[in-house]
């Protein structure tokens, strides 16, 4: 089977998976007994006439049987009408897309951070297997992932923001994506929505520095979600590669250890890590809810958290669907990329 048909087959599956996701999400929204989906559209406590309620019900097709409602729901999804969010005061899809760059920027930064730390740590652990560095790396990575992210976020704020501030020392910001005074004094006209890229393109140095400073703490907090996985996979993969004959050959040729590790072992061992990094990117997009809330990061995650607090089920369901779609797409992209990169993979 050719590469193209493999991709097409995977795209077909993608459609089926998304249909399944939309069904689950729809029945969570509409199918549960005793839940009036209309409640999501009304601010409780504010007066609204019975006539307006029934006209709203009709307008949203909530008076039709459930399968018919599902049909309308999918048709609306495909048309890009994901409903209207009370929390964001705009259509759900617009709200999510508008906040997507902030979340992606944070997630990519976190993945880069966890790869930058995780790969060397994994290599060191493999080279010093069962010795002090290996145990230390494993303990630190497991401990890191065992702490709740929100707690870790608060600790980071304490250490890098609060204590320096109380001691009159410079620190890192505790919240937000850019300092308000920078946004006011050196405003940034958006190009891609990614602050780091846009500020570089526009040559806006203060904005770039401010964004970078704001990125550090949430990115560290978020990177810990994927760090442990990357360390462990890197370690296992490296151990596997180190046992291969060609490593023995390289060593017996008298090549320095550093060359053997970097040129021969690492290159072969890193492929599964890149796959993991790709898939964790998807996980981080969903996992950003907590980190974004703690650091008031204006991404999809913090919006979804507000939606939950605000009983905005339309938004929460839209977010779920969006993240699920992204996960599936990222997985597909990683698989396809893997097929391209690794000649051993058959379609």
């Amino acid at each position: 089977m050719g590469f193209l048909s493999y991709v097409l087959r995977r795209l077909g599956f993608l459609g089926l998976v998304l249909l399944g996701v939309s069904m689950v999400v729809f029945f969570v929204l509409r199918g549960m007994p005793g839940v009036d989906p209309l409640a999501a559209y009304i601010a409780p406590g504010l007066p609204i006439s019975q006539e307006a309620l029934s006209s709203l019900r009709k307008q949203l097709h909530l008076d039709e049987p459930l399968p018919v409602q599902y049909f309308y729901y999918v048709a609306n999804l495909l048309r890009g009408d994901w409903g209207y969010s009370r929390t964001a005061a705009q259509p759900v899809l617009d709200a999510l897309l508008g906040r997507l760059p902030a979340t992606v920027e944070l997630a990519i930064f976190a993945v880069v951070l966890s790869v930058a730390i995780g790969v060397p740590a994994g290599v060191i652990a493999a080279l010093r297997k069962d010795r002090a560095p290996d145990i230390a790396v494993r303990v630190v990575s497991i401990t890191g992932i065992s702490f709740p992210v929100f707690w870790l976020g608060i600790i980071l704020q304490l250490v890098f923001f609060y204590y320096p501030a109380t001691l009159g020392l410079p620190g890192l910001p505790s919240r937000g994506r850019v300092a308000e005074e920078i946004a006011l004094l050196s405003p940034l006209a958006p190009v891609t929505g990614f602050h780091l890229i846009d500020s570089l393109v526009r040559g806006n140095v203060p904005f770039f520095v401010s964004t970078l400073r704001h990125l550090v703490l949430p990115a560290i907090a978020l990177s810990l979600i994927s760090l442990a996985a990357i360390v462990r996979i890197m370690r296992a993969s490296m151990l596997e590669v180190l046992r291969q004959d060609y490593i023995l050959l390289a060593r017996s040729k008298g090549l320095p250890l550093r060359i053997v590790i970097v040129r021969h072992a690492l290159r072969n061992a890193i492929t599964p890590v890149l796959t993991t990094a790709g898939t964790t990117l998807g996980i981080l997009l969903g996992g950003a809810v907590v980190v974004e809330t703690v650091f008031s990061w204006p991404g999809m995650g913090s919006l979804a958290a507000q939606g939950i607090l605000n009983n905005d089920s339309v938004l929460v369901v839209g977010f779920t669907l969006f993240v699920a779609t992204m996960m599936v797409v990222v997985n597909l992209a990683v698989d396809v990329l893997y097929a391209v990169v690794d000649p051993r993979v058959r379609y």
Binding site: G34, A43, P47, S49, I154, T166, E180, S296
Partner: protein
């Protein structure tokens, strides 16, 4: 150069150091105020209803109204107007406007701007609720003439056609008599008209600014008038503003929900000509996490932070508050003003017509009998709830109103007091007629919103107290998801439920209607109806004389209390400027006073030392 692990570490350290230096926080500046708010504004258009403090906080500093409040007073005084006159027994109100007031876009305030602003509120007809005050006046249809007929959201309107727009405009709800005089024509006399005009929905916008940024609807069947599209939100005005207020909306970022306000250099000075903003910049930042807000306040990087009542004991001494009723801040440099009465009440509701899920009436209707209602009310220890659930931030209340509201009468009598013996006696008596007794008990369900643990405490207390009586009723408590909970009480499926509600104005009209009239918001959800109360409501609604109105309100309160339909658990109190999210301040912030009609602070009053 070959990179070594050491050089990498050194490089990383230099980058880290470089990142930590630069830009001190804006708060270091004396003339800048930074406020970490729990939720930022969603939009800043005064025609949109909202339950978010931040939206209105922006509105009340950027826009102004014909009448408003001076300092802590809740009596409206002329603001953009120089005065008013009620004519035809309260059917017409004529306002004279001040001269020489300019909008932020440089255009001048005149009678046309007033007409434009009110017509805009009616014609946009947004279902979020605020327009409802003018079209319907809650229980009594038709405040502004023609609005009830036009409104699809709150009245009997059917379409947003050009014909319906023209019909509303022709009804003459708001008329320009001359450039400085504007007349409001009401469908009936309305005693609380001035208070409604004083709310944020009475904000006057710059017509020139709105029209300049408006696009005529492409759909020919959609009615419009220059600057206003019928039944459609104005996307530009959701995020931009041009009023006459002391602050200019400099920046509102919808994604972050952060706001920056700048002092208006050509502000006219308010009614006494003395208002001059001292704070040049106000930064309101949506900081979602409470721990982060508290940390920022402690570090002194913000001047004001929203701290929920549940977390108040991180900020004040718990023992001193609960034992002595004294607010004693425990963080150096932080002040906590209050407590103040708040426009929020907690209550329980008994349903006179319990329904089955198919909409039919349930066979067992215990609350149709006043003895059962009184018994339930007597089984609730409201004092315990105020102390243990609301941490003392609630006061006893004689009705579903707060002491901050006009007409509140503390002497109105309740039909019950906490007494389990009375409850038992009443239930045993009622059981004989309703068919329940200790040996043949009937079951009832008490519901609460699972997301509101305070309701769970009350529900459990009622159930435990009634079950202990062994008087023939067995109560079960069920936590429902928010949507199930709303559906359950809206559809009258539940017998007994627990609620809180807030008011956007200090005028009691909406709550008198909600609890006292057949068409009222809450009364509709338990089929409460008393013709005498309906009549008294209309009398106070139309009364222009405050003394007479207050007397009628007292009578209405008593009539409803005698029916023992509602259990008044408490009127909320709070600290800071507490609407929706109470807040605490750095002690360096001065000029704070409390006005229950404010939503957030009025910034011209504040300064920093």
């Amino acid at each position: 150069m070959r990179s070594t692990p050491l050089s990498t570490v050194v490089q990383a350290a230099i980058v880290a150091l470089a990142l930590t230096v630069v830009t001190p926080f804006a708060t270091a500046q004396q003339n800048t105020l930074v406020w970490d708010i729990a939720a930022g504004p969603q939009y800043v258009d005064p025609v949109m209803g909202t339950s978010a403090q931040a939206n209105v906080m922006v509105l009340q500093n950027v826009y102004e109204r014909l009448v408003w409040y001076d300092g802590a007073s809740t009596q409206p005084i002329p603001w953009l107007a120089t005065g008013w006159e009620a004519k035809d027994g309260g059917r017409r109100f004529v306002f004279k406007l001040r001269k020489g007031i300019k909008f932020h876009d440089g255009t001048e305030l005149d009678a046309n701007a007033v007409k434009f602003s009110f017509d805009r509120a009616v014609l946009i007809d947004d279902p979020t609720g605020i327009g409802s005050f003018f079209p319907t006046g809650t229980a009594a249809p038709g405040i502004l003439k023609g609005a009830w007929e036009f409104s699809k959201s709150f009245g009997v309107g059917k379409e947003y056609s050009q014909a319906s727009v023209d019909k509303y405009l022709a009804a003459g709800a708001v008329k320009v008599l001359d450039p400085q005089t504007v007349e409001f024509n009401l469908a009936q006399p309305y005693g609380a008209f001035l208070t409604d005009v004083a709310t944020f929905m009475g904000s006057i916008v710059s017509p020139a600014y709105v029209i300049k940024n408006w696009t005529k609807p492409a759909d020919a069947s959609r009615g419009s008038t220059p600057g206003i599209t019928a039944g459609q939100r104005d996307e530009w005005m959701l995020a931009n503003a041009s009023g006459t207020g002391p602050y200019i909306l400099e920046r509102f970022d919808k994604a972050t929900a952060n706001v920056v306000l700048k002092a208006n250099p050509s502000y006219w000075g308010g009614p006494a000509g003395k208002i001059k903003p001292k704070l040049q910049t106000v930064v309101v930042r949506a900081t979602l996490d409470q721990a982060t807000r508290l940390l920022n306040l402690r570090a002194g990087s913000v001047d004001i932070a929203d701290i929920s009542t549940a977390a108040i004991f991180d900020v004040i001494d718990k023992k001193k508050w609960l034992d002595e009723g004294k607010i004693a801040p425990v963080i150096p440099g932080v002040s906590v003003p209050g407590p103040h009465p708040w426009l929020t009440i907690y209550f329980a509701k008994m349903n006179l017509k319990i329904k089955n899920p198919d909409g039919s009436l349930s066979a067992f209707q215990p609350f149709a009998d006043i003895r059962v209602r009184k018994a339930f009310a007597s089984a609730i220890d409201t004092a315990d709830i105020r102390r243990n659930v609301f941490n003392g931030f609630a006061e006893p209340t004689s009705w579903g109103m707060t002491p901050a509201q006009f007409g509140y009468d503390p002497n109105v009598k309740a039909a019950y007091a906490f007494n389990v013996d009375t409850a038992k006696r009443l239930l045993l008596e009622a059981g004989k007629d309703l068919g329940f007794a200790p040996d043949k008990p009937k079951e009832l369900l008490v519901i609460y919103n699972a997301a509101a643990p305070w309701q769970g405490y009350i529900a459990t207390q009622v159930a435990a107290n009634v079950n202990k009586l062994n008087a023939g009723l067995k109560l079960d408590v069920k936590a429902l998801s928010f949507t199930e909970y709303v559906n359950s009480w809206r559809s009258q499926l539940t017998s007994f439920s627990i609620h809180s509600t807030f008011s956007l104005t200090a005028d009691p009209n909406s709550w008198l209607s909600a609890f006292g009239t057949t068409a009222g918001f809450w009364a509709r959800t338990n089929s409460y109806s008393n013709p005498k109360a309906d009549e008294l409501f209309m009398q106070q609604f139309q009364a222009l004389d405050p003394k007479r109105r207050a007397k009628v309100i007292s009578d209405l309160m008593q009539v409803v209390n005698d029916d023992a339909i509602w259990v008044w658990i408490g009127a909320a109190t709070a600290y800071g400027q507490p609407t929706f999210n109470p807040n605490v301040l750095r002690a360096s912030v001065k000029g704070v006073y409390y006005n229950p009609t404010y939503q957030g602070f009025y910034f011209p009053a504040l300064w920093k030392e």
